[in-house]
Symmetry: C2
Subunit: 201 residues, 2 copies
DNA sequence: TTGCCATGTTGCTAGTATAAACATTACTTA
DNA sequence: TAAGTAATGTTTATACTAGCAACATGGCAA
């Protein structure tokens, strides 16, 4: 008797359904099919229904984008939790950041674009907050001075994010994405953080 | 008698006009108004005329994108030419790269996206080739070993590009874009290149 | 001069976002 | 429980966009 197609007029949880569908789509094809019509069709709903939950298509995209940042944060936290020691933990965060970009290029791209409109929910653990925290750890462990936090943060984040962006892209000139290159990169970042030649300490 | 509106049926140099118009538009508003219709209207031509010169709108965008990379390369070369000494020259390139992203956010954004379709002309001096060259200089000057070039290149490019992207973006968490921060960043990159703690040398 | 062909045009189809008006259902309150 | 209201859908319409096909113009070459 079950499995009758009860086509309810009201979807039930359209907002969540749109976000999930968008998340999956982003995972697969990046930001190409994240439009209002496309996602509305995906969840079997008329395009205008979307606007009952998001003020614009941009807003919907922005919220999907944040889901990407949260998923990324989750994986970074997971990676940290398996490490002991300041340096190991710090490099694990960077590695997770990079690995996410390589494993989930679509999600990564969406996570770092389409953030024009403000998302509905507050910023739950977002990727760069986790990153920021890992640098504060360096501070509490006495490896860097409190006055350096801003500079170190900018440097480390830039290097990791830049590599993630470039290596994950499709430009023919992009740097290789091998374990070798990544390890070396993280070592050089470490060197740039605690190294000798840095002025303004 | 003069100044009669000689409305020629044939534009004369539509391809160039479209590229120039697109370049200006990118400079002003980024990639928002780089569509076929929009640019066609800008040069007072029907949208379909564009397709006589570019196979698709994507292709047009890709060519504008390359103009951006070339302009960037020009400024980087200019910056290098005013410096003496390996370290100075290297840091000048990085600084120019970053400065371009801050001075011309629209152009920078367009230069590093919309490169899906291949451009028509061959890659004339493109931004990262200039960057690459500056790292080869470090090699010929004996500061790094030839075996390190790939790693150093990935590291330095990543750090500079990452910072340029993040600092030029509009995320509220983005790093500050002050002379202080930039100088410090370039010092830390230098430390990561020639520093002590780096493995795999 | 004739005619080809590069370069423009219009008209069309399909896809997109989103505003306005209307329909249905869920929730609340007497 | 019945009635009213708010939430959540749908349809219809306007105004964009990219790009195909067919047609028009005019410069250049035989």
């Amino acid at each position: 008797m079950a499995n009758i197609k009860t086509k309810t007029y009201h979807h039930g949880n359209l907002e969540q359904a749109l976000l999930v569908a968008g998340f999956q789509e982003a995972r697969g094809t990046g930001s190409r099919n994240l439009g209002v019509n496309s996602l509305a069709k995906e969840v079997q709903v008329s395009p205008m229904a979307v606007y009952r939950h998001f003020p614009s298509g941009e807003s919907l995209k922005a919220n999907i984008s944040q889901l990407g940042r949260e998923e990324m944060a989750r994986q970074m936290i997971e990676a940290i939790s398996r490490q002991a020691g300041v340096k190991n933990r710090f490099q694990a965060v960077g590695r997770a950041y990079i690995q996410f970009a390589l494993d989930e290029p679509g999600l990564f791209a969406v996570a770092f674009t389409a953030c024009d409109a403000p998302p509905k929910r507050e910023d739950s653990p977002s990727a760069w907050l986790v990153f920021q925290d890992s640098i504060l750890d360096l501070c509490t462990e006495g490896l860097i001075d409190a006055s350096e936090v801003e500079h170190v943060s900018a440097f480390a984040w830039a290097a990791v994010h830049g590599y993630a962006t470039l290596a994950g892209g499709k430009d023919p000139m992009r740097p290789k994405a091998t374990e070798q290159v990544i390890s070396n990169l993280l070592d050089r970042i470490w060197s740039g953080i605690v190294g000798e030649g840095v002025q303004n300490r």
